[in-house]
Amino acid sequence: MTGGTSGDGLVSSRMVVDDNPRDPAQLPDFEDPPVVEVALGVQFRPIPGLRPVEIAGLREQWRAEYPVVLDQPPLAPAIEQATSGAHTTQLVFGPALQTRLWFLSEDQSSLVQVQHDRLTVNWRKLDGVPYPRYPAVREKFGRSFSDVQEFVTDRDLGPLDITQVEANYINRIDTDDEGRGHLEGILRHWSSLAGHHLGDPEEARVAMVFSVPAVGTPPVRLYVECAPAQQVGQAPVLLLTLTVRGAPLTSDVASALQFMDDAHAHIVHSFAELTTDAMHEHWRRSR
């Protein structure tokens, strides 16, 4: 069974997920998808010794592929909790100045982000670089993780115990000032607000959180957000962001990669289920 694009596409796609969520041949496919960034990442138990000076040692190893290195502020932990009010506090003993290093390819479309408790690999759509597809980004993540693991092991800095895995897809949907309040052309289940006494909203934002069963160790969640955005000097756009985050079954990279595969399948199915047939036609859906 394949994911359909007809009026009952939601139902048929759900059945596909039940059949085999990871079978690439059964995933919805688009010839011209609106994805502008993919980020596959893991968080691991903090390694205080993985300081900027140490991380910079990776520069020589990665210089050919990632010749540009930039400093960025570190990202805070994002850990899925069983209850929304639960606390996550991370203690790091060591020097106060932590940072996140960006290792960028020459065209800046490939990026590896490393900090004392995170590794993330990004593909970014810049200057019309075509989307290399999930397996290519996954392969880069696997290689980068191996490099960092070897680096950490060689220096006896501690084990890379993965605690959270995250797969992010950011889709850019071009719009205009008026379109920022009209999501009905994009989201299948969004209704026009034409009956509102103030008319159409200037902007609209939709956020959803789904519990994801049978992936990793609960809780695992899918976050979906459709929100207006605008970069300086550029036209307004709508960003449709889909993120799956949670703990892998075990703390090793094989388990993390399996988590990413499952997360990717859920993200692709959700994207197809949530967006309209008209947009599918625009993005040239082929399956």
Binding site: A78, I79, L91
Partner: protein
Amino acid sequence: MTQLLDRPIATGATLYPQAGRDRVERQDAEDFYLQPGPSAPKRQIFIQLSAAQGNLRWLADHVQNEVNAMLALGDGWDGHRAKPITEEAVGSTIGLVFALCDDLSLPPQFFPLPDGGVQIEWHVGGEAMEVEIDRSGDAHGLATDRAGAVIFDSSLEPTAIETLLPVQTIVRRLSIRAASGR
């Protein structure tokens, strides 16, 4: 709804990064200014909160400052044979504070103990809640009422919520009394 929107979504995204991430703190700049150049390794902590815990930043800053002041104490800090505060004691202390306090709580007072442990205390109107964390991180709570009678006396386990519930109740009551001036 607020919690849903406040949750971090694509944390590793870069082209359209989400706002509201923790940034390098002012304290970091002060540390750099006060301790330029090579120096002995300094023990200090910094507490990272998940993005959904923005309302507890004030508590994290307070705890961080108090704990870092204690971590700066070396051997014999009491003029005798006191030991430096252990990382185990610090870990348990912070776990307990965040388990016992919420965004409306009265923060505790912090005291180093000669064995390398930490004591945290709340005192309001003659009533007291004291938690002693020894150098290995084991904790014990003792509460007394205004007459000095013991109303709680038990071991505490930072990750076992059932052992902490009575102490949470006492801390909440003391916080309300402190806020109302009674």
